[in-house]
Point group: C2
Chain length 498, copies 2
Amino acid sequence: MNNALRELLAFQAKTWNLRGIASLLGWDSKTYMPPGGISARAQHASLMDGLVHERVTSDEYGRLLGSLIDLESGQVRDPSLNFQEQRLLTESVCDRKLAVALPNAFVQEFSEAGVQAERQWEIAREKDDYSLFAPHLERMIGLCKRKADYLALGTTPYDSLLYCYEPNATTVQLNHVFSDLRDETISLLSKLPERAQPRAAWLTADYDHAKQLELGRSLMKKMGANEQNIRLDLSTHPFCTTIHPSDIRITTRFGGLAEYIYTILHETGHALYEAGLPQEWYGSPLCEAISMGIHESQSRFWEVFIGKSRAFWETEFNLLKEAFPSQLSAVGFEEFYAASNPMGATLIRVGADELTYNLHIIIRFELEQQMINGTVNVSELPEMWNTKYRQYLGISPKSNREGILQDTHWSFGGIGYFPTYTLGNIYAAQWWKQIRKEMPDLDARIRAHDFVPILNWLKKKIHIVGRGQTSAELVRSITGGELSAWPLIDFLKERVQR
Amino acid sequence: MNNALRELLAFQAKTWNLRGIASLLGWDSKTYMPPGGISARAQHASLMDGLVHERVTSDEYGRLLGSLIDLESGQVRDPSLNFQEQRLLTESVCDRKLAVALPNAFVQEFSEAGVQAERQWEIAREKDDYSLFAPHLERMIGLCKRKADYLALGTTPYDSLLYCYEPNATTVQLNHVFSDLRDETISLLSKLPERAQPRAAWLTADYDHAKQLELGRSLMKKMGANEQNIRLDLSTHPFCTTIHPSDIRITTRFGGLAEYIYTILHETGHALYEAGLPQEWYGSPLCEAISMGIHESQSRFWEVFIGKSRAFWETEFNLLKEAFPSQLSAVGFEEFYAASNPMGATLIRVGADELTYNLHIIIRFELEQQMINGTVNVSELPEMWNTKYRQYLGISPKSNREGILQDTHWSFGGIGYFPTYTLGNIYAAQWWKQIRKEMPDLDARIRAHDFVPILNWLKKKIHIVGRGQTSAELVRSITGGELSAWPLIDFLKERVQR
C-alpha cells in the first residue's frame, strides 16, 4: 500500500474510532445508563456526532482524499492501484459527497427537529391523538424534501432519501419488485384462515431470565459468534451496535420463548456480519456494510429462513424442554411449532409474521413516496393508512395508536428507511435459494445446529466483501441474476402450505 | 454572569463532556466490555485523552481565559466579579498551567512508558521476580523526576508530584503530620495481640449475588444516593467514576459479606461527593473535588467512621440475617462484629485494618521521597521495603509479591498518589470529630440507618464547596483548626480498646 493511502486509512480509522465511541454512548443509554443521565447523554452524543461530521467534511480530509482521487469526477489518480484500493477511494468520495452536500446548519436543524418530533410522537401515541403529531410530521416531511434537494441523487427526490439507506436502489426498481411481492402476498393471505389467538399458558409464561440468557448465549456460540468479541445484554427494544469490529454488542428482551429465540437469531445475524467485514480495511468503506437492506438480509436469513424451519425447532425445542421441564414437559412439538409460528393479518408491524410483514412495509413505502411527491396532505394520512390496511391485509385499525402512530421512524425523519426491511427479506430469500443449491445437507446441518458451515458460506459470499461490491453486484455474483422477489414469494408459498 | 465568563464556562463544559465520555470508556472496559475489545479500547481512550488535552492547552482556551484573568500573574481583570467567579478563574489558570507545563511529546512518552511498565509489573508480580520490574521502575522514577522539573511547583521535586493529587499539601507538612500518626500507631499496634486468622465458614461463604446487590442498593438509597443518577455494577476492583454529575457509576465485588458492605459504603461515599458538587458550575473547577485526599475523606468517612461502628452493624447485621437466614441464624452479633473487624499487622495494604493501613501508606510515602531525591538505588528498594515493614509493622514479607510488588501505582508513574489515602483518613477523622460535636444524636441516627442528615451535613460543609476552597481552608472552616493527625489517632485509640 502506498503512503498516501496508508495516511488516508489512518485518518479514516480515527474517524471510525469516534463513531465507535458514539455507538458506545448509544448502547449504554439503552442498557445500563441511570435514567437521570439522559439529558447529559444527548449532549455527549451530539458532541461526538459533531466531531465525526467535522472530520468527514474537513479540508484536511478533502486534501488527503483529493490527492488520491479527483473529488469531482471520481477519477482515481493512480491507475496502478488494485481493485480494492480503487473501490475504497470511489466509495470514500461518495460518502464525502453525501456529508458535504448537507450544510452544518441544516444537519443540526434536522436533528433537533427530529428530537422534538420524536418526543411529540411518543405523547401522541400515548394519548392516541394524531393531531398532536401531525404538525411535526409535516415539518419532518418538509425537512426530508430539503434533504433530498441538497443531495440531488437519482431521478426523484425519494431516490435521494433511499440512497442514504440503500445506495443503488431506485424508486422505480423497488416499486416494480415490491408490487410482485404485494400482489402475491395478498393472494396467499386470502387463502389463509384467520389468525387464531393462541392462549396456551406456556406461551406467555415468564421463564427464568438467567436460563434464557444462557440459552441465548449458547445459540450465539453455535452460530459462530465469538464471545470474546460479541456480547448479549438486555434492552427495551433489541438492537445490534458496533463499537469496533472487535467489540460488538447485541441486546434482547424477554417475551414469548420463541420470540426470544428469534430475536437472538436476528441480532446475532447482524453481529456476525459486522464481525465478518474485512478488518484489515478498518475505518474505510471496505470494512462497512453494503447497505441497510444487505444488513437486514443477514439478520432475517438467520431469523426467518433458518429460525422458522422445522429442522431448527426440532432441536431447539428439546433444548427449551431441558431448560424448562416443569413448564414444557406436557407440550408436544407440533403444538409448540404451530403456536410459535402463527400466520395471518395483524395490525402491528413488529409483531407480524414473515408473510404479512412485507405488506406492512409496502404500505409505508407507498405512503412515503406520496409524502415526498407532495401528492398527499398530512391530515389525510391516517385515513389512507387505514384504507391500505383494509385493502392489503383485510383488517383496519380502530385507533391511530394501532395504526399510523405505531412506528417511530417518520418522527426522526427516517423516510426511505422502511423499504430496506423488505429488501432484507428479498435478499435473504435469494441467498437461501442459492445456499440450498450449494449445500445439499443444509437441513441436516440446521437440525444438528451445526451452523458454522452456514456462517462460513455467508462470510465468504457476503461478509468479507464489505463495500467492495454494490448490492446489485453482490446479488449477481451470488445468484447469477438480478434482484427479484420471486425466491421470497416461493419461500412464502411453501410456508403457507406447511 | 458576564458574557465572557458564560462563554468560558460553555467551553469548559464541552471539555468536561469529553472527559465524561472518556470516563464511560473506562467504566465500560472494567464492567461489560467483551475481552476482545481491549486493544481498540486503548485507542479510543487515548483518542479522547488527546482531545481533552488539545482543548485545555488550545490557543482558543488561552484567549478565552486570558480575557478574564492574566495567565501569568493570575490577576483577575474585572475586580467586580464575585468571589466564586474569581475563584473559578484562578483555579482554571492553575489547571491550565499544569496542562501546558508538560510538553505533548513528554505526556505521550510518560503514558506509553507507564503502559509498558504496568504490563511488566503484572508479569513480575505473577512470577514474583522483582528484577523484571526494576528497570521499568527506574525509568518511571526518571520520568517522574522530569515531570517534577517541568512542573516546578513547591520547594522540592516531590512537592510537584504531590501537587498533581493534593494541591496545597507540602512534603514538609505531610512528614510532620504523618510522623505523629506513624509513631502513635506503632505504639498502639505493639499492645495488640497478634491478628488471629478467623476461620468461620459464614465469613468466606458465597452468598447469593442478587440478594447482595439488593442489600447494597438498599444501603446506597438510605445513604441518600438517588438511583436515578447513581448506579451499582460489578468489577474486579471496585471504583467510582463520573460520566456527568447526573450519571455516576460505582462498582463492587463479592468477597466476605462485611467486606462487601464496606465497599458499598466506600464507593457510595465517593459517589455522593461527586453528586453533591455545585452543578450550576458544571465543567469548571468549582464543580470538581478539591483533591484526592478530600475525595478519599468522603469514602473513608462512610466506610470506617460510620461503617465500622457498633451502631451501624447492630442494624446492618439484622438485615444480613434476614437476607441469609440459613447461613447466619446461628451467628451471634459479637462474633460477627469481631470477625468483621479484625485488627493487627498484615502484609497487604488493600486488606489492612483502619489502624495499620496508614503504616502501609507511610512506608510507601517515605520510600517515594527517597526515590525522587535520588538517595536510593532501585535495586535496594525491596530490602528497604522489608526493613520498614519489620520496623513499623513487626512483620516482613517472605516474597516481593507480598512486598514491594503488591501495588500497581508506581508502575504507571503515580508517585505522590499514596499519601492521599492517609490524608483521606486524617481529614475524615477531623470531620468525624466535628460532626459528633454538632450532631449529639449521631449514634442513634447511625443505629437507625437514618443517614440523610449525615449526608446533608457533608453536603453543606464539603460537597457544595467544590473547589471554592483549598483543603486547608476547608479544614479551617469546618474545624476551626489546621490539618492534624490527632483526631485520627484518638479515634484509633478508641477502636483498639473496643
